[in-house]
């Protein structure tokens, strides 16, 4: 009876364990693998079918415009897989994999380039720093991995902004029914506004408000837009969570005569944490979704502008690279949601 339970519980990391290692998981994961194979098969067949349609169209066009010889030449050219006459359509899984390899090699080249640049400028930069000047920065093209990093940085900044705006505002709205009902119109009117419009609004304001040319305006504009688009779920969930704290807990707080400050921070806020984190999970997934569109429009370096540039580029593997970006976006979104789910479960005390 004397053994006080002071041992800290180990953090539950079982969610990281692959499914097939869990009990009865082998059978389930076989189905998952089968579904992936079916998906790839359907994709491959569909892409080949589209390729054939596009190729037929090209040959037909050559036939009607330039005659039989040109058509035969075109057919031969397409069969050889030459870049100049390649039909532009949905890439097959193989082509996407090749696109991924290209991007990875490209990243390696750029990283090596960066390293070399850093070594070359190390001395100069050290002396510049001693003089109080800003160091010479690498201004080369960002690699795909750099762009993923920028996107994640932007989305995290946006979510942080959403958290800083929505949680305090939600607490204030949740505590006062009068304030909630009188300010409800703001939530109802601005919640459904499209990310594109938010971007334009933020652009109008930031462009005028920040005159410093050294600042990364496109980054500021995109993360503020992401924050404003995604904060509504957290705002609504926080205010609902705060206003629906169990009466028992409030009774305890009044019997103990806690001050308003203590009542909010020791009772109301912890009691509504599960709701706040549910809201934050929605916020993160919305933020990641709107980020791509916003980066695309704001020309902020990141996955969104990568996709748009590849589309404009029209190189022979551009379409494959777009699909690679699509999968990367999907997997990162999945990972972010998993992290938020873990946090959400850790916060619930029921």
């Amino acid at each position: 009876m004397k053994t006080t339970a002071t041992l800290k519980k180990p953090i539950d990391l079982s969610f990281l364990k692959p499914k097939f290692l869990k009990e009865g998981g082998l059978k389930n994961s076989l189905f998952t693998i089968a579904s992936i194979l079916v998906f790839l098969g359907v994709w491959h067949l569909g892409a080949t079918w589209l390729f054939n349609i596009e190729a037929d169209r090209k040959i037909q066009k050559a036939l009607t415009e330039q005659g039989t010889e040109a058509a035969l030449k075109m057919e031969e050219c397409i069969a050889s897989g030459a870049v100049k006459c390649k039909p532009n359509t949905l890439p097959t899984p193989n082509q996407v994999l090749a696109g991924f390899n290209t991007l990875w090699l490209d990243h390696k080249v750029i990283s090596a380039d960066k390293k070399a640049f850093a070594q070359k400028t190390a001395k100069v930069n050290a002396s510049r720093e001693a003089k109080g000047l800003s160091p010479i920065a690498y201004t080369g093209r960002p690699s795909f991995v750099d762009q993923i990093g920028t996107s994640i940085k932007t989305v995290l900044a946006g979510v942080l902004l959403a958290l800083l705006l929505a949680v305090p505002a939600g607490i204030v709205l949740g505590l006062s029914t009068r304030l909630k009902s009188s300010l409800n119109w703001i939530i109802q009117v601005f919640k459904p506004v499209s990310p594109v419009v938010w971007l334009l609004l933020v652009f109008m304001i930031v462009k005028t408000a920040i005159s410093n040319a050294d600042m990364d305006k496109s980054f500021i504009i995109s993360f503020i837009s992401v924050g404003l688009c995604s904060m509504w779920a957290t705002l609504v969930n926080t205010s609902v969570g705060v206003s629906s704290v169990e009466k028992d807990y409030l009774n305890v707080a009044s019997v103990l005569q806690l001050s308003t400050f203590k009542k909010v921070f020791k009772v109301i806020l912890p009691a509504s944490l599960p709701m706040i984190f549910t809201g934050l999970r929605i916020t993160v997934s919305v933020a990641w979704m709107v980020l791509i569109a916003i980066e695309l429009l704001a020309q902020s370096p990141g996955l969104g502008s990568f996709v748009w540039e590849e589309f404009q580029n029209g190189a022979n593997d551009s379409n494959a690279k777009i699909i690679v970006a699509m999968f990367v976006i999907g997997f990162i979104g999945f990972a972010l949601d998993r992290i938020m789910m873990y946090l959400q479960n850790a916060m619930s005390f029921k």
């Binding site: 009876m1 004397k2 053994t3 006080t4 339970a5 002071t6 028992d248 807990y249 009774n251 305890v252 009044s254 019997v255 103990l256 005569q257 806690l258 203590k262 020791k266 009772v267 912890p270 009691a271 944490l273 005390f349 029921k350």
Partner: protein, 285 residues
């Protein structure tokens, strides 16, 4: 001089046609150091009464005087044990007790506060579970935390709102003994609300039945002059215990019956006959 007096208190909820008078003209005097039990049917306004004593709810009419002053809000001098424990689920046992100790003993040093918390937890025999969260505890253990939280700050009046009604019989018996044991050490005033007559007789000096609501009022009081400490098993054979128990139950049954009989209003049924297909009205008549 009485520590607590309730003068002509009435309370109703709602307004207009949906207005429900819960309590009407309640009068009560509680002596210092007395253990008082209030027994009554569920729905008779016991919890409302308790919330008014705690200061969570204000009476519509009348007043509650505690130590010569009118009760206008909650106070640390009136500790409360809730029916559903009301522990904060995100805090450990230690932290739950600490919440009340830190709130009431603001000026005491950290070391002393820590000692008070640990002593209160020890008092209810929960030291092995001091770092556990409420969800890891059984119902009885949770209620003991609630008892520790209320008693840690040594309130002059302890209010218990059916503290044991959600527990099984064995746990209930243990906790009754524990609460009595703690109470007998410092003899603070205690008011227990319960729907169990045996529990009232075992624990209290005086039992007052609350007549069922709406418009609930107190019935005649029953003094329990059995000597303490009272032993549950021995008491079952004590003729005085049986006598008191029978009196109270008889009283409660009678008012229960009375409530039923006042509700039997006579309805005059309209003189109607069913129309049966294929048969004339005359035939039926």
């Amino acid at each position: 001089m009485s520590i607590l007096s309730i003068n002509n208190v009435s309370k109703s909820y709602g307004s207009g046609s949906s207005k429900v008078d819960v309590l009407k003209n309640i009068n009560l005097e509680v002596e210092n150091g007395e253990f008082l039990a209030i027994v009554g049917f569920s729905g008779s306004g016991k919890t409302t009464l308790m919330q008014m004593l705690a200061g969570l709810v204000q009476p519509d009419r009348g007043e509650i005087i505690f130590k010569g002053e009118k009760v206008t809000g909650p106070s640390a001098e009136r500790g409360m044990i809730f029916q559903n424990y009301s522990l904060l689920p995100w805090l450990t046992v230690y932290e739950n007790v600490a919440l009340s100790v830190n709130a009431i003993y603001k000026d005491k040093s950290k070391v002393i506060k820590d000692r008070i918390i640990r002593e209160s937890v020890e008092m209810v025999n929960l030291t092995p579970a001091i770092n556990k969260k409420p969800k890891e505890l059984s119902g009885g253990m949770r209620q003991r935390v609630s008892v520790a939280r209320a008693l840690a700050v040594d309130p002059e009046l302890l209010l218990m709102d059916e503290p044991l009604s959600a527990l099984d019989a064995l746990t209930r018996g243990n906790l009754q003994d524990e609460i009595l044991n703690i109470w007998s050490k410092n003899k603070r005033t205690a008011i227990l609300i319960t729907n169990d007559v045996d529990e009232g007789i075992l624990m209290a000096d005086r039992i007052i039945p609350l007549d069922p609501g709406p418009n609930a009022t107190f019935g005649p009081e029953f003094k329990i002059d059995l000597e303490r400490p009272r032993d549950k098993t021995a008491m079952n054979h004590d003729p005085r215990f049986k006598q008191i128990r029978n009196n109270i139950i008889e009283y409660l049954m009678d008012i229960g019956e009375g409530r039923k009989s006042t509700e039997t209003e006579e309805f005059i049924l309209p003189d109607l006959q069913p129309i049966i297909k294929g048969s004339s009205l005359k035939k039926v008549a």
